[in-house]
C-alpha cells in the first residue's frame, strides 16, 4: 500500500473538480441555512422601520438614474439590432412588438437585476463584510440587537420591494428608448409601432417580468448579505466578498430566470392567454 505523504501527492483534475464540488455544496448549504434564519426573523419580529427606510432609499432611489440610463440604452440597442433583420423581411413595423416584449419579459428584469447586483449587491457585501471584520456585527450582538434582524431583514425587504419597481422604470425607459430610435432615427411609423406592440403584449407579460424581478431582488439580497457575513479578514477578504456577491448573485439571477421562465410558460395557457414563445 502506498504511504505517500500529502506533500508528495500530485494534484489531479479529480482533486480540483472534487474540491470545487465540495465548495459549491458547502456554499449552497450555508446560503440555505442563512436564508432560513433570515425567514424566521422576517416573519416573527417587527421590521426596523428606520433602517428599512434608509435601505429603501439607498437601494431604490439612488439607483434610479443608472437604471433609467441602462433601460433606455437597452431599448435603443434592441432597435439597432432588430431593425435591419426585420426590414429585410419587410416587417419593420413589428419592431415595437419585438423590442417591447423582449424588454418586459426578459431583458428588463434580468439586466436591471444584474446591474443592481453590481451596484447594490457588491456594496451590501462590502459594507457587511467591513462591519464583520471591524467587529461592528459583534458590537450589535453585545448591544442586544440581532444582526440578522437589524442588518439582513431590512435589506432583503428593500430589495424585494425596490428591484421590481426599478425594473418597471427600466422597462419604461427601454420602451421610450426603443420607440425613439425606431421612429425618429429608423423612420418606422409610430402608429404601426404601437399597434403591433399592443397586439403582442398583455398584462401577464408585464406581471411575469415583475414576478421575476421580485425573486431576483430577494436572491440578490440574500447572496450579498451572506457573502458579507462570511467575509474573511483584511481588504482582500472584503474585495473577495464583493466579487463573490456579484458572481453568485448573477448565477442565481440566471438560474431563477430559467426556472421561472418554465413556470410562467406553464401558467400562461391556464390564464387563457396566447404564448408569444418569447419567454
Amino acid at each position: 500500500m502506498s504511504t505517500a505523504s500529502p506533500a508528495t501527492e500530485r494534484t489531479t483534475i479529480v482533486h480540483v473538480v472534487g474540491g470545487l464540488c465540495l465548495t459549491v455544496i458547502r456554499d449552497a448549504g450555508e446560503l440555505t441555512l442563512f436564508a432560513l434564519d433570515m425567514l424566521v426573523w422576517l416573519l416573527t419580529r417587527r421590521w426596523r422601520r428606520s433602517v428599512l427606510i434608509t435601505c429603501l432609499y439607498q437601494i431604490g432611489v439612488e439607483s434610479i438614474p443608472v437604471v433609467l440610463t441602462t433601460g433606455a440604452f437597452i431599448g435603443m440597442v434592441m432597435a439597432v439590432q432588430s431593425y435591419d433583420q426585420l426590414r429585410y423581411m419587410h416587417l419593420e413595423t413589428n419592431l415595437g412588438a419585438v423590442i417591447n416584449i423582449s424588454l418586459v419579459k426578459e431583458l428588463g428584469p434580468v439586466l436591471a437585476a444584474t446591474m443592481l447586483a453590481g451596484r447594490v449587491g457588491c456594496a451590501m457585501a462590502a459594507e457587511l463584510g467591513t462591519m464583520k471584520i471591524t467587529e461592528q456585527i459583534d458590537a450589535l450582538r453585545v448591544l442586544g440587537a440581532n444582526p440578522m434582524h437589524y442588518l439582513v431583514v431590512p435589506r432583503f425587504v428593500a430589495c424585494v420591494i425596490m428591484v421590481p419597481v426599478l425594473t418597471l422604470l427600466a422597462d419604461a425607459a427601454g420602451v421610450v428608448g426603443g420607440w425613439f430610435f425606431s421612429t425618429q432615427v429608423c423612420g418606422v411609423d409610430s402608429h404601426h409601432y404601437w399597434t403591433h406592440t399592443e397586439e403582442f403584449i398583455n398584462w401577464f407579460d408585464v406581471a411575469g417580468g415583475i414576478v421575476k424581478a421580485t425573486f431576483f431582488g430577494g436572491a440578490m439580497a440574500l447572496v450579498s448579505c451572506q457573502r458579507g457575513f462570511a467575509c474573511r479578514a483584511g481588504a482582500e477578504g472584503v474585495g473577495q466578498a464583493a466579487t463573490q456577491a456579484f458572481v453568485y448573485g448573477f448565477v442565481a439571477i440566471l438560474a431563477l430566470d430559467f426556472f421561472l421562465g418554465i413556470l410562467l410558460n406553464a401558467i400562461y395557457p391556464l390564464m387563457g392567454l396566447m404564448s408569444t414563445g418569447l419567454n
Binding site: T130, M131, E135, Q136, D138, G144, A145
Partner: protein
C-alpha cells in the same frame, strides 16, 4: 483573593478554529467586583477568552459559566439579556460607521428600553461628559474622530446600559502615551463610581499596573509542552513584576530573550 461569589468561571475550556487550537484546558474563576487583567503574547487567546465570556463564541470543549450557569445552551433571548449585563469596549472601538456619536451611545438604550428620547439624550450627554468628550462631538460620525476619541465613545456606549461587568479588549493599543493614560484613568474612574467587575485584556503593563488587582497570564498554546497548563501566572500585578518564571518575567519587562533566534530557526 476577594471572598465574594464567582461571577464568571472557565471550566476546562478548549477553543479550536479549524485545526488551530487556541485555548487548551483553561480554567479560572473571576469573583464579583474583581478587577482582572488577562495578559499574554499576541495570538495566545486573550480576545477569544473575552468573546467566550460574553457568549459571542462557544467553547469547543468545557464550559463557561455566568453566575454558575453555563452560557452554552441558553436561548437567544436569554443570551441577549445576559449580554446586556456586560459592557464591551472593542479593540478598534467597533463604532457603527453609519451612525453619529450620539446615536452610537444611544443604540443600546433605544434597542432595549422604552425610554423617551429626552431621557436617552440626557444619558448620552452624561456618558459623553464622563469620558471627557465635548457635546459638539455628539453629531460627528466615527470616521471624523481620532483613535482616542473613538475609544472613549466606545467606552461611553458600553457604559450607557449601566453594565455589571466591563470587558476591555486592548483599550490602549494604538494610542499615544498621554491618551493611553487618559483611558487608564477612565477605567479606574468607572471602577470607583460603580460596583463593577472589570476584565481588561492587554499587553500594556502600564495599564496592568494602574487598573487591576489581579493578573492572569496566558501562554500561546503551540509553545507549550504536552502537560503544561496554558495559564502560566495568576496573582497580583506586583507578583507579576517579580515572577520567577522567566516567561512571565520576560513578558512583563518586555525582554525578547532568545525569542528572535527561536523565531528565525522555527
Amino acid at each position: 483573593m476577594v471572598d465574594t461569589p464567582a461571577i464568571i468561571e472557565f471550566r476546562g475550556v478548549h477553543r479550536r478554529f479549524g485545526g488551530q487550537h487556541v485555548l487548551r484546558d483553561v480554567s479560572f474563576t473571576i469573583q464579583r467586583g474583581e478587577s482582572v487583567a488577562i495578559i499574554g503574547e499576541s495570538g495566545c487567546g486573550k480576545s477569544v477568552t473575552l468573546k467566550l465570556m460574553i457568549g459571542l463564541l462557544n467553547p469547543s470543549e468545557g464550559a463557561v459559566l455566568l453566575d454558575n450557569r453555563p452560557m452554552e445552551g441558553r436561548s437567544e433571548k436569554e443570551l441577549t439579556s445576559d449580554r446586556l449585563r456586560f459592557g464591551y469596549v472593542f479593540q478598534q472601538a467597533a463604532l457603527f460607521d453609519s451612525l453619529t456619536v450620539a446615536d452610537n451611545v444611544a443604540f443600546g438604550l433605544r434597542q432595549n428600553t422604552r425610554m423617551p428620547e429626552s431621557q436617552i439624550a440626557d444619558i448620552v450627554r452624561e456618558r459623553l461628559r464622563e469620558v471627557g468628550l465635548p457635546e459638539s462631538a455628539s453629531a460627528k460620525k466615527p470616521a471624523e474622530l481620532s483613535g482616542g476619541m473613538r475609544k472613549r465613545v466606545g467606552l461611553a456606549r458600553a457604559l450607557a446600559l449601566a453594565p455589571e461587568i466591563m470587558l476591555y479588549d486592548e483599550p490602549t493599543t494604538g494610542l499615544d502615551p498621554i491618551m493611553s493614560d487618559v483611558i487608564n484613568e477612565l477605567i479606574l474612574q468607572v471602577r470607583e463610581r460603580r460596583p463593577i467587575t472589570s476584565i481588561v485584556v492587554t499587553h500594556d503593563m502600564v495599564t496592568v499596573g494602574r487598573t487591576v488587582d489581579r493578573v492572569i497570564m496566558l501562554y500561546p498554546q503551540p509553545r507549550l509542552g504536552a502537560d503544561e497548563p496554558q495559564i502560566i501566572f495568576d496573582g497580583t500585578p506586583a507578583e507579576a513584576f517579580t515572577a520567577a518564571d522567566p516567561r512571565v518575567y520576560q513578558f512583563v519587562h518586555g525582554q525578547a530573550g532568545e525569542r528572535l533566534l527561536e523565531m528565525a530557526t522555527r
